[in-house]
Amino acid sequence: MTATTVRGAPRKLRTTKSAARRRRVGIAVTYSFLAAVAVIYLFPFLIAIATSFKTEPNATANPLSLAPSPPTTSAFHQLYQDQNFLLWVKNSAIITLSVTFLRVFLDSLAGYALARLRFRGRGAAFATIVAVMAVPGVVLLIPKFLMIRQLGIYDTYYGMIIPLLVDAAGVFIMKNFFESIPASVEESARIDGAGIFRIYWSIVLPMARPALITIFILAFQGSWNELAHFIISAQSTSLNTLTKGVAQLASGQLGVGNRYPLKLAASTLMTIPVAVLFFVFQRRIMNVASGAVKE
């Protein structure tokens, strides 16, 4: 009503409008930046997919273009006709599935023992496992090679699978997770009459689902994408996994020239199982321990 109030109001309005506009601009800038980073991150992958649908001359001439011209599925046909590709798939599948399921089982057993059981040398065992994690994998390749040959499992499935069966990171994850489960749940089971393995199998393991899924994904991914270990543990081409096979394609063993579409078609196909796995499990990770105890 008074002059001061009226004079005050327009100033405030102006400030509000420009503040809102600045905020909008800020948001736009942030999003553009994020989008740019996302594109840069995805670009190589998109190129791979695009190139797998190109002809060889097209791939050589326009390597970075995302639009194949002309688009063709000849690379995929070649892969299919090439018997070896299916052999590589078979080998990868055998090894990956064995390693994944066994690793989940063995890592959880080791993690539970370290978390809950009391035995002499427990601290030392755990310290050793953590220490192993600190060693670069490359350093261990030659020792592993020598051990595999010594044990006589070189150039067999066993040689490729057994060394991968337990990993320090997985044991570490499981141990930490088991420690986070309230001890009273296990004590309750003890009083109810369950033995150690029964407690592990029926009580604790079902509660550890998030950790188990994590190990599952990591194990699947790790063994599917493993290369160095397969190189040192086997030499027959009949034992080639997808990684080894594609690597040999890339090094020109199977042909001359840069056969980009063929190699990238193989890589694209290789990526599918892991991607599918990831998306499937992403939805399924839930907090399984809710309701057990009073938080």
Partner: protein
């Protein structure tokens, strides 16, 4: 027969902490015994030793006639209800309750019957197919009890099962637990830090402090005849008022000088506590329960009155609590303070309770709602002399026989 006997039981941890010290205790068959005390007093440790979840460092625990020291929990025929319920989250209520039966290879039909019967006792019949995360706190607690009940064990062990429930639910569940225990007549040991729970639920209550048993008697006796300063402060809410006093001779009588007031010690009290005479001329602690102070004139105040200023009034509906500042020294030794609060809060409490020169004490009096007292008013409270308590200031023990 499922008696439980503690025979010189001691528990020492690896780092040297003495959790339970030479505990001697016996629980009769079918009795509801409560272990109560402040945190760290050893009550939960003692309970867990019965269950077999803690190793016994010394002495023997017997259930029935069997020495159970080296028996694993599953062979002791005890069932335990935990403070945080400890339910199996991936199993339904029915599966949770039936787990122990599965472990003992009970036939499926019999198991089903027993689970349903237990669910009926606890009002869980509609929830049998739910998972714990779909239940409320009270329901989860009942499932935890169901797990114990269905096993028909010799002993129930309960570790503060109600402390995670809200106050009103706690009151209801207290009655529920008591009712079920009476109905099933199973020997029960119940641990709590809440003395109200202990008093309302126990046939006998064992008060523990720092690993040592203070007193083990029915609740009413603990209240009326506490064995020492700690028990006197711990049991009863609001707590007993503790004041420093000196005993003096006045002719044939003994009087108790409390601050500026003089209280007559009645002859019947002297004959019940002959040792008092030996304390004449010495400082002792005198304990007065809030309800032993009166403002209505109901008590004959000839034997002694305490005069003070009302500092605060708490209206409780049927009665009121008056906080009255009197000229007397409060007793704030460790025994008393530990009975009132956890030790970390001891300093805060001491500050609240004393004036800076320590010569004034805050008494809490339980008065009729009709009594007209107002803050900052000076009042004279009559003391029920027959209900005075006397304690040795050095040892903390009651001065009695």
């Amino acid at each position: 027969m499922a008696e439980i006997t503690f025979d010189n039981v001691t528990k020492t941890y690896g780092d040297g902490t003495l959790a339970v010290s030479d505990l001697n205790l016996d629980v009769h068959d079918g009795e509801f015994v409560v272990f109560v005390g402040p945190s760290g007093c050893g009550k939960t440790t003692a309970l867990r030793m019965i269950a077999g979840l803690e190793e016994i460092s010394g002495g023997e625990i017997r259930i029935g006639e069997r020495v159970v020291n080296n028996l694993p929990p599953r062979d002791r025929d005890v069932a335990m209800v935990f403070q945080n319920y400890a339910l199996y989250p991936h199993m339904t209520v029915a599966e949770n309750i039936g787990f122990a039966l599965r472990m003992r290879n009970v036939a499926k039909d019999e198991a089903r019957l027993r689970i349903e019967e237990t669910a009926r006792i606890l009002g869980l019949v509609d929830h049998l197919d739910r998972k714990p995360r779909q239940l409320s706190g009270g329901q989860r607690q009942r499932v935890a009890m169901g797990r114990a009940i269905v096993r028909e064990p010799q002993v129930f062990l309960m570790d503060e099962p109600l402390s995670n429930l809200d106050a009103k639910l706690r009151v209801q569940m207290r009655a529920e637990i008591a009712r079920i225990q009476r109905q099933l007549n199973v020997t029960t040991v119940y641990v709590t830090h809440d003395q109200i729970e202990a008093m309302t639920m126990g046939d006998r209550v064992a008060v523990l402090r720092r690993g040592l048993l203070q007193q083990f008697e029915p609740p009413q006796r603990l209240y009326e005849q506490p064995a020492n300063l700690f028990v006197a402060s711990f049991i009863g809410s609001p707590a007993m008022n503790m004041l420093e006093a000196t005993l003096e001779r006045k002719g044939d009588d003994v009087v108790c000088r409390v601050g500026s007031a003089t209280l007559m010690v009645p002859a019947q009290v002297l004959s019940a506590r002959p040792a008092l005479v030996g304390y004449v001329g010495r400082s002792i602690a005198v304990g007065i329960r809030p309800e032993a102070l009166d403002h209505s004139g109901r008590l004959n105040g000839d034997g002694g009155r305490l005069r003070g200023v009302v500092r605060a009034i708490e209206a409780l509906g049927p009665e009121q609590l008056a906080h009255v500042e009197v000229e007397a020294r409060p007793v704030l030794v460790e025994d008393v303070v530990e009975g009132l609060v956890d030790m970390e809060e001891a300093e805060d409490l001491a500050e609240i309770m004393t004036d800076s020169d320590g010569d004034r004490a805050m008494l809490v009096a339980r008065l009729d709602a009709a009594a007209s007292v107002r803050p900052e008013e000076t009042v004279e409270l009559a003391v029920d002399l027959r209900r005075l308590h006397f304690f040795d200031l050095e040892s903390g023990a009651t001065i009695g026989a």
